[in-house]
Assembly symmetry: C2
Homo-oligomer: 334 residues x 2
DNA sequence: AACAAACATGTAACCGGTTACACATCATAT
DNA sequence: ATATGATGTGTAACCGGTTACATGTTTGTT
């Protein structure tokens, strides 16, 4: 493998000149440029990222820490991140944290050792301590789906609270008279906000009861379990807003097994807008997040931070959109 | 950030000794070890992967090149890869090739510059040229889902041919009398083998006709289009083996729209065993690949190659298993 | 003509590790 | 008593780049 010295020798110049040419900084004579270029071509020289990184302390690498890539919400996000990163010449390291703090910390250490330029946090357990760790080590980072206040940092997120309210109103509009909610783990800001959005509206009605709110774990099976409990408590509910699509799909399946018809007996509205929602039968109505856009925005923000084009922390909130589909398409309108 | 020199100074030894201690090679006196260890603790020293990589030409990083992480087949694979990689201290770089040769080449270049230790190829377009590029640059690699003969390299794959035959036989056993096949892009070895498995058995029957084999593109929508064509040609078919689950799901959806009942009128069997198959209604019968195991095996193989524990190229073939579910559960048995 | 500014290039230190080699000490075998 | 091998440590070269600084040459200005 040719090195910069080989190129310099062949072109009859010093390594400094070659370096200047490659990085396009400093003066290089036109003729010299030509000679260097030819030498590079002839030797098929490619600059060594390792050596460069050691000297510059930049690696053009970012890390994406997420709970689990096999959770259907994340692949699209990951794809967006990688797409944007690549256009800027960055490489993406994939990290699955399983929402475990110690794994996250482990990653942060490894990433620090490797001079990673920045980290994208789509993992939810991020606490003040990790944030401190990142700030202390001066690693730029952007987080997804966090409540903005908590710690000072850049955030990209969706309007969960508003989305929940859109879901609730939609269920009402299709004729639901008693609407329940299955919410996700309360450590997750997203789940909490969606719950709050629901509760605020639901409380206004006399049919409301706290037992209409049941916790699930954001998995398919969890959705089934939660809906079973819910139906046993309140056999008369006719609409459920479910905190994420995975649970909603699980709930739909379970309802079918229980002989309860969706949407006529119970209408269902999920949240997230993952692709699976179109495979279900009936298709699942959901509050869709612009997942790809979120990933793009977060990556752009991170790269801006890395390249020093942005000082202040920013928060970006994306609108969500109702995808009204079969699971709330009731024949019996009010 | 503390460097090895700082540690050496504090411990009152040379950097060589510290390095020996850290890497556990060469002799270090027990007492000295203690002093060095204390210095490391006190300074919170972490060794710089960049400098180390420059000196050793190893980075403890592997790349996973796949067509598209948002294709539901790949997240589980990626997860397996990352899990195994992490236990060996390796980091994973994610690359989406969209099955485009130039993107793959681009990645190989970037990865070479970065001294990546090895590459896992789950992308299908890999041709002799790229393989040559890798071999020339002496980058260890393992490929997934390739026909073994093609070029000399390590391969991890499933028994596609056999799987197709299991699917065919299963459809027969549940009473299908005229079984069609929707196959995937023939550039993909997997798709080709599945087609061959089907064709070999189907040809034996007098109902067979080449027009029972229709090409699809391995996407959900493609499955719908293909099944529509198929049913217009052969309204009397009562079973379809479909080359991957995504197309099978699309086909099921389309059949439902066409008013054709699955499984009673047409039974469907897919291939891959992605999780989505359980969300569909009826659940999709499929030939499941041990995706996670495949990822694990491939990663282990790659790391062995990297660490020089394996010279010869190996091929690993995994058995597939029939998951018999609703989409082939016919009330009208023969 | 004198001088500043722009242009062009080279030297060498530095980034933070690894490791070959030299050297010293000590225990053991002969 | 001496040779031998194991143990323990330091020096300095090296990995392959970047870049501050020095130096020399043009060009333009007044």
């Amino acid at each position: 493998m040719a090195t910069i010295k080989d190129v310099a020798k062949l072109a009859g110049v010093s390594v400094a000149t070659v370096s200047r040419f490659i990085n396009k900084n400093g003066y290089v004579n036109e003729e010299t440029k030509l000679r260097v270029e030819q030498a590079i071509d002839k030797l098929q020289y490619e600059r060594n990222a390792m050596a460069r990184g050691l000297a510059t302390k930049k690696t053009e690498t970012i890390a994406l820490i997420l709970p689990d890539i096999s959770n259907p919400f994340f692949p699209e996000l990951a794809r967006a991140v990688e797409d944007v990163a690549r256009t800027y010449g960055y490489t993406v390291i994939l990290c699955n944290s399983d929402n475990q703090v110690n794994k996250e910390k482990g990653y942060i250490h490894v990433l620090k050792q490797r001079y990673i330029d920045g980290i994208l946090f789509a993992s939810h357990t991020l606490g003040a301590e990790e944030v401190g760790l990142m700030k202390k080590n001066n690693i730029p980072f952007v987080v997804l789906d966090r409540v903005p206040a908590e710690v000072e940092c850049s955030v990209v997120r969706s309007k969960n609270f508003e989305g929940a309210q859109i879901a609730f109103q939609h269920l009402q509009e299709v004729g639901c008279r008693k609407i329940a909610h299955i919410y996700g783990p309360q450590e997750l800001a997203t789940a909490k906000e969606r719950l709050m959005g629901y509760e605020q509206l639901a409380r206004e009605f006399d049919w409301f009861s706290p037992s209409l709110m049941v916790q699930g774990d954001f998995t398919i099976d969890g959705g089934g379990i939660a809906v079973e409990l819910l139906m046993s408590r309140h056999p008369d509910i006719d609409g459920i807003f479910i905190g994420n699509d995975l649970m909603a799909l699980g709930a739909m399946k379970k309802l079918k097994q229980m002989g309860i018809h969706v949407p006529d007996q119970v209408a269902i509205c999920g949240f997230d807008g993952i692709h699976l929602t179109k495979i279900a039968d009936p298709e699942l109505t959901t509050i869709a997040q612009p997942t790809y856009e979120i990933g793009m925005m977060a990556t752009r923000l991170l790269i801006k931070k890395i390249e020093g084009l942005m000082e202040e922390d920013q928060t970006h909130e994306f609108d969500v959109t109702l995808l009204s589909r079969g699971s709330t398409e009731r024949k019996i309108q009010v």
